[in-house]
Structure formats: C-alpha cells, structure tokens
C-alpha cells in the first residue's frame, strides 16, 4: 500500500522503549475509547477528535524525542499529549471542564498544553501550530540549546498556506524542525486523494530542498526509524525533514459524526485498515521477538485500565472552576478595565 521514497529499515532493540511504545499506544487507544463513551454520556461537553488508528505516529515520534524537545499539536491532539508524557488525569479533568485540568477548564480537548513537557498546545485551527513550532525551533537554534521541535499536521493541513510558508522559512534558516504530516486520508469528509495535487505530500519537501519521506504510519518502528534520522539531521544543524506518516482514522472526524450518517467511507475500507492495526501489530512483533510475553502484555493492558479508571474518577471528583477563573490568565499583566467584562465594569 505504501509508495514513494521509503526510509531505511530500523529495528528497535531497546526493551524499555519497545514496552513503553506498546503501553503508550494502548493508553491512547483506551483513553480515546473511554472519551467517546463519556462524550456520548454527556459527561464531556462538546465534541472531541479521536486519534484511534494513528497511535503509532505520535508514539513513534515521541519515543525518539527528549522531554525538553517541543511539539505543537493539532485538533486531534490527545495522542500527541499522551505520547509526550502528558498526565491522563489532568487531561481527563480538562475534558470534564474541571479546575484540576491542564488548562483549568479553559481549553478543553482542542487546547490541552503542558509547557513543562514542551507541549505547545493542541490547536483548533488546521496547521496554525506549525509556525509556532518553527518559532520554538528558531529560539533553540539562536540559543544553541540542542532542542528540536516537531510540528504535527494532517493531510488537510498540508494544503494550508502557512504550512508552505513555514517549510520555506525552516529550510532557508535550517531550523531544527520536523514536519510530521499525519495523513489519515481524510480532511473531515474530503479525501486526501481528491484534495492533494502532485505525487504525494512527502514529495513537497523536495520543492524546498529538504528531505521528505513517506512512512508507514501504522508501524511504530518505521516511524521511530524515520524520526531518528530526522532528529539527527535537525540536531546537527542540517535543518528540517518532512515525514508523511500514512495511517487511517477509524472513527469519524469527530465524536458526533456517527449521528450524521455520512457515507464518504465504505465499511470495506475501514475494515481493511483496521486489519493492520498498529497496536495489535506491534504486540505481535514484540511477542514474536520475545521482547514482550503475553502475560506482560495483559499486565500492561490491566495497568492502562486502572490508570484510566483513576483518571475518570479524578475528573469526576474534581471541582468546577470558580467563576473568577473566567477572568484570569488572559494577560500576565492586567490593568483596570482589562479584560473587559460583558456587563459590569471591571475596576480592578
């Protein structure tokens, strides 16, 4: 199914990294499955964008990054945040709109951020986080910190102007930036094959003179290998890389899509991709290589369930934010009248 300029094979031999990759993919999958239930039960307000089917990309990328490296995520961000080390309790509390959430209930699903972990936020506008990641990469370059930044975007984001502006800038300034295109094949209901000109998104890097590779985004080890090369280039001052990681989103664009009864995908197609499930595949690979036993796998699965039970219980038990919270955090420095309120004068 994969065509294009494939990257060299990579075998992950570090047992801890292998186990951790399985655990994190499983955690993302089960986090998202629980989120769907909680949205449908109206415990989580609004709608969320599930990462199910794409777990190998976030986990493959973040397995190679250091904690000090920076990522900018997308509207489909839960997977990136978990992969980068985010705390599922604080994530779940944020989805519940509670004060213990990452953003004190002011961001929700599309804006979870943890600057301490280098997570510069999920983002509600397609590709808008890309230049923000580039800015972090630029700062790292100016200060010689050795950090790299990763900009996640989708096949939809691949057609945004600001992405192309940033690819050009990253190339001329040789920024330590990695463009990760998560090609899940649909921008909402519009097929990538319909919306994307040329031989493929990965080939667009050539126009800007830096490496671009098509990667099997449902194989965590392939993603790791590709990112390892990209990180080496970035850290050694060689500039950016574009990795088009092809995967498939099992769910609709957002939680409520099912109710719309859309027909843009055939069940056969969904089943075909589900047949290559990244988590099942990785577990099978590890079993075969005798890196993970089935008992160990079951133990991880149970730990994940317990962790998520705890996260949901924590979110449910957490306090709602105090009304004053609504008026806080817009500015580092407030002034009288700022932020303006809708009715009563704020004389603070």
């Amino acid at each position: 199914m994969m065509k294009g300029n494939m990257i060299r094979d990579y075998v992950c031999s570090d047992r801890t990294v292998c186990h951790e990759a399985y655990r994190k993919m499983r955690l993302i999958r089960r986090f998202e499955e629980r989120v769907i239930q909680l949205v449908n039960a109206n415990e989580i307000a609004g709608t969320t964008h599930e990462y199910i089917g794409e777990e190998a990309i976030a986990v493959g990328v973040c397995s190679i990054l250091k904690q000090t490296d920076i990522i900018a995520s997308t509207h489909r961000g839960h997977g990136h945040i978990i992969a980068k080390g985010g705390d599922v309790k604080r994530m779940m509390a944020e989805l519940f709109g509670r004060v213990t959430g990452y953003n004190h209930g002011k961001g929700g699903s599309m804006h979870i951020a943890d600057l301490a972990l280098g997570i510069y936020g999920a983002n509600g506008i397609v590709a808008a986080g890309v230049p923000i990641a580039a800015g972090a990469a630029w700062a790292a370059k100016l200060r010689n910190t050795g950090q790299v930044a990763v900009a996640f975007f989708g096949d939809g984001g691949a057609n945004q102007g600001v992405l192309h502006e940033t690819m050009n800038l990253a190339a001329i300034w040789k920024l330590p930036l990695i463009f990760i295109c998560e090609n899940n094949q649909y921008a909402v209901t519009t097929a990538s094959t319909f919306a994307t000109a040329g031989p493929g998104i990965s080939h667009r890097a050539a126009a800007y003179g830096f490496p671009g590779h098509l990667v099997d985004g449902m194989d965590v080890e392939r993603v790791m290998g590709a990112v390892l090369e990209a990180v080496e280039l970035a850290r050694s001052g060689e500039g950016p890389t574009l990795l088009e990681c092809k995967a498939y989103r099992y769910q609709g664009h957002f939680t409520a899509e099912r109710a719309l009864k859309l027909t843009y995908r055939l069940q056969d197609e969904i089943d075909l991709w589900r047949g290559q499930d990244p988590i099942t595949r990785w577990a099978a690979t590890l079993l075969e290589r005798k890196i993970l036993s089935s008992e160990e796998r079951d133990a991880v699965d149970n730990e994940v369930e317990a962790q998520l039970d705890e996260a949901v219980a924590y979110a449910r038990a957490s306090e709602w934010p105090h009304p004053d919270e609504a008026f806080q955090d817009m500015y580092v420095t407030d002034y009288p009248g700022l932020p303006a309120r809708g009715y009563e004068w704020n004389a603070k």
Partner: protein
C-alpha cells in the same frame, strides 16, 4: 529628536539591555522603514532577521519563540498586513495563554511604522485597523510624540504580553524633546495635551497636531477645548476620560479608524453608559467613513476624518438644545 529616531533609540537600548530581544520582519536589515537602522551592524545577523514575504509564518514563529523565552519585536512593513495574519494574532497569540490556563508568557511586540493613510497609497495600504485588534484583546499603543514613542516602545518590549504599537505616518517625522536615559511609560495612562473647560476632544495620535492648532484658534473665539490623547488604546485610561468629561460635559471623539464598531464607538458607548448624567450634549464621533481610502487627493479627504468636521462638531455640541428641556445647557456643573 524625531519620532523615528526615538523609536530606534528605544529598540536599540532594549536590545543592548536584553539579549533575548530579537527583531523579525521584512527588509529590517536594510531598514526600509528606518527603525532598525544600525541594528545589523551593532547586534549582528543573529539578532535581526529578514523574513520572506510570509507574514502568517513569521508572526506564528514570533509566538513560538516568545513561548520559548525570546522577546521578539516584529515589524510590519505595512499596517494592512495585519489583515493577512489575523489567525495568528486573534486566534493564536492573544488566546493561547488564556486557553492554556495561564501557562507561560508570550512577550511579543508588533510595531507598525507609518500606519494609517498617506496620500496616494489607496485602498489596501491605508487602513488603521487597531479597533479590530482591540476587540481581540490585544494591547494596543499609539504614541503621538517622540517622547511617547520612546517611552511606549520601551514599555511594549518590556511587557510580558503581546503588544501592538502603531506609529502613524502623520507623526513619524515630527520632532520633539526626548529626555535622556531610560524612559518607560506605563500602559493605560492617557494625557491631557491641552486643558479646557467647554468640550473634551479625545483624539488619536495622527490627528493630534491639527486638533491642538484648532483648539488654540477656538480659544481666541471663546471656546475652551480640552484635548485628551489616550496614548494607550487598550488598556484605556477611563479615569482620565471621566475626569475630563465630568468637567466639560461634552465629548467628541476624533479618530482615524473606521466608524462601525470602531474605537470611537467604544469610547462613545462608555461615555453614554457611565457619564450620561454629566453630558450636556450627545457624544459625537468623527471617524473615517467605512470605505477604502480612495486614491485621488481630490477624494481621500471625504473619507478621512478632517479638522473641518471637528470644528463643525464643536459648534454643534456647543449649540445643542435638548429637545425635551428645550434649553441650551450652559456652564459647568
């Protein structure tokens, strides 16, 4: 010292004092607009970066770099380029800290030199779009004098939030005294440029000089005009406005932005809500027409706010007769 030199002095002093201050923009190394002249020679290419024509990308980069600890100063070659980057300004830089629940800080300064209309630049180079940014909650400054240019640019760079500083074309060439040494004006503090007792004219920077001239002439005709320069549009000095209007009882807002939902509309609405009992006449707005600025110098004056309009409006508020009371409300309180 000219206004432009004052801006340059502020920038260079901040760059000397703080190595995290870096400049991004189009043609800033050659310094097409003059503010960054000498920066490349003194600070080297690592501190001042020419960008491609990619406004959305470099504004977004400024955001990310500020989150990572730099203090970028971003120059807009043309004020209307702000339209091009509205997602990165309105949806990203100003919202991120709030949406993140107060994590981090984003200290970016955007400087817009030569903002507003100049003769012959026509529809796409002439808007003064500060109201749009204020509605998004961005802090907006618009100094009118060389002293304020230095003090407020310094304040903007030191502020730990995004700040937009408009340096209007009408004042860029003006000269004035700038005190020696470190000067920094607090945000949210306006200034009475000329005290008066009959009518308050709140005037935005590009219209200040002609307003002062008119006020001097009207004084000799027996009308005492108080001229209020807000300097900082957001935060805004409501206290000074209240003080002035409770004294004069009349308010005209003479502003260089568009009319609908404009800065003048906000000031007028505030006066109507909070100062109703002190007003002897309706608040009048003089603004741009909601039109692109036409090219021809025979036409642009009908779209831009003018001193003739201001003089008429002053006459109007001084002669105002209340329809129910059928009297002209005279004198002080």
């Amino acid at each position: 010292m000219t206004y432009l030199q004052a801006l340059r002095e502020a920038l260079m002093e901040e760059m000397r004092a703080d190595p995290s201050v870096v400049v991004l923009g189009e043609d800033v190394r050659q310094s097409l607009r003059g503010i960054t002249k000498g920066c490349l020679e003194e600070f080297g290419p690592e501190r001042i970066w020419d960008t491609p024509i990619s406004e959305a990308a470099f504004v977004g980069m400024g955001t990310g770099a500020a989150m990572a600890g730099l203090r970028p100063v971003i120059e807009f070659q043309i004020g209307t380029l702000l339209f091009v980057v509205m997602d990165q300004l309105a949806n990203q830089v100003q919202k991120l800290r709030y949406m993140m629940g107060g994590q981090g800080a984003i200290p970016v300064t955007y400087i817009v030199p030569g903002s507003g209309a100049r003769p012959g630049l026509a529809g796409q180079h002439s808007d003064h779009l500060y109201p749009l940014l204020m509605q998004c909650g961005l802090k907006v400054l618009m100094p009118a004098t060389p002293r304020d240019a230095k003090a407020m640019f310094t304040a903007a760079i030191r502020e730990n939030d995004p700040v937009v500083l408009f340096a209007p074309s009408a004042v860029m060439g003006t000269r004035g005294l700038v005190p020696e040494g470190d000067i920094c004006a607090p945000l949210g503090v306006g200034e009475i440029r000329r005290p008066g007792t009959d009518v308050t004219v709140l005037v935005s920077a590009p219209l200040l000089a002609e307003t002062l001239k008119l006020a001097a002439r009207l004084e000799s005709e027996g009308i005492s005009v108080e001229v209020l320069d807000p300097r900082s549009l957001l935060p805004f000095d409501h206290e000074l406005l209240e003080k002035s209007v409770t004294k004069t009882g009349r308010l005209i807002v003479f502003d260089d932005a568009n009319r609908t939902c404009g800065f003048a509309a906000e000031v007028a609405a505030y006066a109507a809500e909070k100062l109703f009992g002190f007003l002897k006449s309706p608040v009048i707005r003089i603004t741009r027409a909601d039109l692109p600025v036409p090219f021809s110098i025979a036409l642009d004056k009908y779209v831009l706010p003018s001193t003739e309009q201001l003089e008429r409006a002053i006459g109007q508020v001084m002669q105002y007769r209340h329809p129910l009371l059928d009297v002209t409300l005279q004198g002080g309180r």
